[in-house]
Subunit: 456 residues, 2 copies
């Protein structure tokens, strides 16, 4: 498909020459994301104002041409791949921090601001924005909001849905609107803010966000606990979450992942049935009692070793296994299937056991690790050839079925995108999916926003 000339004329009028590209080389760069799927867009635009986004969506609606919003493409679900062509709107140049307002614990940002850049700008004020995906230095706030991307701190501080006050956006009708508040509390009509968060660009394009800031605790302590087996570690997670001191990170790493990390990262990585990384934060005076409380809960049947880091170097050493994991996986399989299922914390032992059984049944290498405090496990299938890839896909369907049986859901923080939409009927009843389709039509009556994503 090539764009209708009348549409191109409108875009050329609205965007400067260097902010609109139909060049194939440039379009190729916006054809894919971290899912490794790809599809060529017909044009790429780089908006810098809300008004440009309104013009873009209105014109595309008139010509029934898809519009796909894009942050930095770090998502793993294909959520930004323009599968039906059309125009990719890359927000990378709309990246100003408009306001940092510590008295009101809020910041107003454009969607292209990188998560890490915002955190750096907030530091001197003593605040941070809680969502912290591992890709934080190079993922954008707009992308974080679109996918409800979270990270390890979510267990204590919540996801973007709990940390966003308001939005400015452009609906699929081409109409701009504001929703939410500048206040930390509000009950004035329907909550459109949270509805847009996690909607993966299918309802509206976000052009501005008012973020809720949290005061940055001045101290942090890191603990590492190794266990005889995954069940013992998972039971410790439930004990930790049932006592009053909520850790700011509670990460789980299974035996297969530990072995992989050790092969790659060296002797500093312990060999064990499973490992937990636990962090607590707060004011310095409060940390000793917090470490005690969490340590008491971490102890129990199956604990092998509990280490508390005393210095920054020791903290780094404790984290070495977790850090070695991503590169280690890449050495085995460039085509890893990276899922992020989530179950109630107390069902983690059954989930981890069930995954081990499925790995054996389908003869696929699976490593599991992730944000155990939320019951959010990154299940990575590592197929090494085409035959294994086929088996991995069959295995995946059974993993999702297991997760649903355990009262869990398909995604904790990655979203649905292209890759998981076929599994949505496993997680949601027809009536719920029907209402979601009605909501989609309410915002985007001609289905031009990110077609082929999220809803099956």
């Amino acid at each position: 498909m090539t764009l209708p000339p009348a549409l191109l004329d409108i875009l050329r009028h609205a965007f400067a020459a260097d902010a609109l590209s139909v060049d194939e080389g440039e379009r190729l760069a916006y054809a894919y994301d971290n899912s490794r799927r790809n599809a060529l867009p017909d044009a790429v635009v780089f908006p810098t104002t809300h008004e440009q986004v309104e013009t873009l969506v209105r014109a595309c609606r008139e010509h029934r041409v898809p519009v796909v919003a894009r942050g930095r493409g770090t998502n793993t679900t294909g959520a930004t791949v323009p599968v039906e062509g059309g125009v990719v709107a890359s927000f990378e140049r709309m990246n100003r921090i408009l306001r940092i307002d510590p008295d009101n614990r809020l910041a107003v940002v454009e969607p292209g601001v990188l998560n890490g850049d915002l955190q750096n700008a907030l530091k001197p004020h003593g605040f941070f924005w809680p969502p912290d995906p591992t890709s934080s230095p190079w993922c954008s706030i707009g992308g974080n909001l679109a996918c409800n991307s979270a990270g390890p701190r979510t267990v204590k501080y919540g996801s973007p849905r709990e940390n966003t006050l308001g939005l400015r956006a452009v609906a699929g009708t081409g109409e701009g609107f504001r929703c939410g508040t500048y206040t930390s509390k509000g009950s004035t009509g329907y909550d459109l803010t949270r509805l847009l968060i996690g909607s993966e660009g299918t309802l509206a394009l976000i052009t501005e966000a008012t973020l809720k800031l949290a005061p940055k605790p001045s101290a942090l302590r890191t603990l590492r606990a190794t266990y005889r087996d995954v069940g013992a570690a998972a039971r410790a997670v439930a004990r930790i979450m049932a006592q009053p001191v909520t850790p700011c990170a509670l990460e789980f790493i299974d035996d297969v992942a530990l072995k992989l990390a050790r092969d790659y990262g060296g002797d500093g990585v312990p060999l064990a049935g499973a490992m937990l990384m636990i962090e607590v934060d707060g004011e310095p005076e409060t940390l000793p009692s917090a470490v005690d409380a969490v340590s008491r809960a971490a102890r129990g049947d199956g604990l092998e070793e509990l280490k508390v880091a005393q210095t920054a170097e020791e903290t780094q050493a404790l984290w070495s296994a977790r850090k070695a994991l991503s590169p280690a996986q890449r050495t085995i399989s460039p085509n890893k299937i990276n899922e992020d299922v989530v179950v109630p914390v107390s069902h983690l032992p059954e989930l981890v056991d069930g995954i081990k059984q499925l790995a054996a049944k389908h003869d696929v290498l699976i490593v599991s690790f992730g944000h155990a405090g939320n019951g959010n496990l990154h299940v990575n299938l590592l197929p090494r050839d085409d035959a294994e890839r086929e088996r991995a896909h069959a295995c995946l369907a059974e993993v999702f079925a297991l997760v649903i049986r355990l009262e869990g859901t398909l995604s904790g923080e990655h979203g649905i995108g292209l890759i998981k939409r076929e599994f949505m009927p496993l997680a949601l009843e027809p009536a719920t999916l029907g209402l979601m389709r009605n909501v989609k039509a309410a915002f985007d009556p001609d289905s031009i926003l990110n077609p082929g994503k999220l809803l099956p």
Copy 2:
């Protein structure tokens, strides 16, 4: 209007004789709520199952008869007054706590469970559900969710939107559905859960809720600070919120309210330009440093006295002024107009000053107090006769305009209901209201759910 006989037949089939009433005496009891507005429903039903609610809504939709969901009617906005008649569905008998699951920090409840009953049931498990309206002993969870009702603890723990994981409900189509998760994190499609919360029964009737629990801190300390004037107190609020220790209550009481409370409650109530009640919670070892941090921030220009309660009796004494406020107001005006505007915390001084000027301009008695940590002020206009009542209404419109100028919004926790819907266009742009109307149509295509509420 009387109900069509065919509809009554369906209802008589679905509801036992004692769960359906068309008797005028009983209907009168469900004609009003705490707003003191009233309108007679044509029938009242008392569902105890999700299936009954489906039958009810389907039948009413077929006959285009309004359905108004009702908890315990403690709302102040007329949100449960059946202004167009129809059937009131009172959830008071659908009041079972279905599951308390401390390992997963969740509880599953029916909508008629009283907030206070839930808190009592959670106590032995060491957990609580953060929303705590002042009406907690006699308001229902369903009502809390419908209005996004919050309370003093919101400043630290969030409102129902931050403390609900999932819902079961019946849309205006008559279709039952589930949304959300049993997990503390999720990114599987649109967030219908938060969309229903605060929608005042206009989108769907909630039949079950999965609530996120918080571990109950074992200790609490109460501080009381008095200030020369409201500006000094409001500036202290901003200082307290800009440091890392977030109080679990930060309540503001203005000079007029203090005077009233003292007339009613006696010498224990201090006379001052303004007063803050501050509470910090946590584990006992952490409280001294938390009290120090908050005290440092509370001190500053204009502080007159800072008291820290050392015993339970002293805590009660410190709270006496706040507790005396409600009965004190009733002695002056049985027709108080009770608003709950909210502004960014740093704009509180301007809001409080502006309200004083408006009170003088319109010659109306106004007392202001409320949840200052959220910038959420209960502005109570106390007209004593008809002439004052008229002036109060004129004054109110100017109060709302002031709030919007200060980047605030109409309601922090009471909602919109009947009473504030005419002011919605002040707070929300036409495009935002248009999208809200589309969302309403997506859930309730025939507009049978709670007509005449929330949207103008």
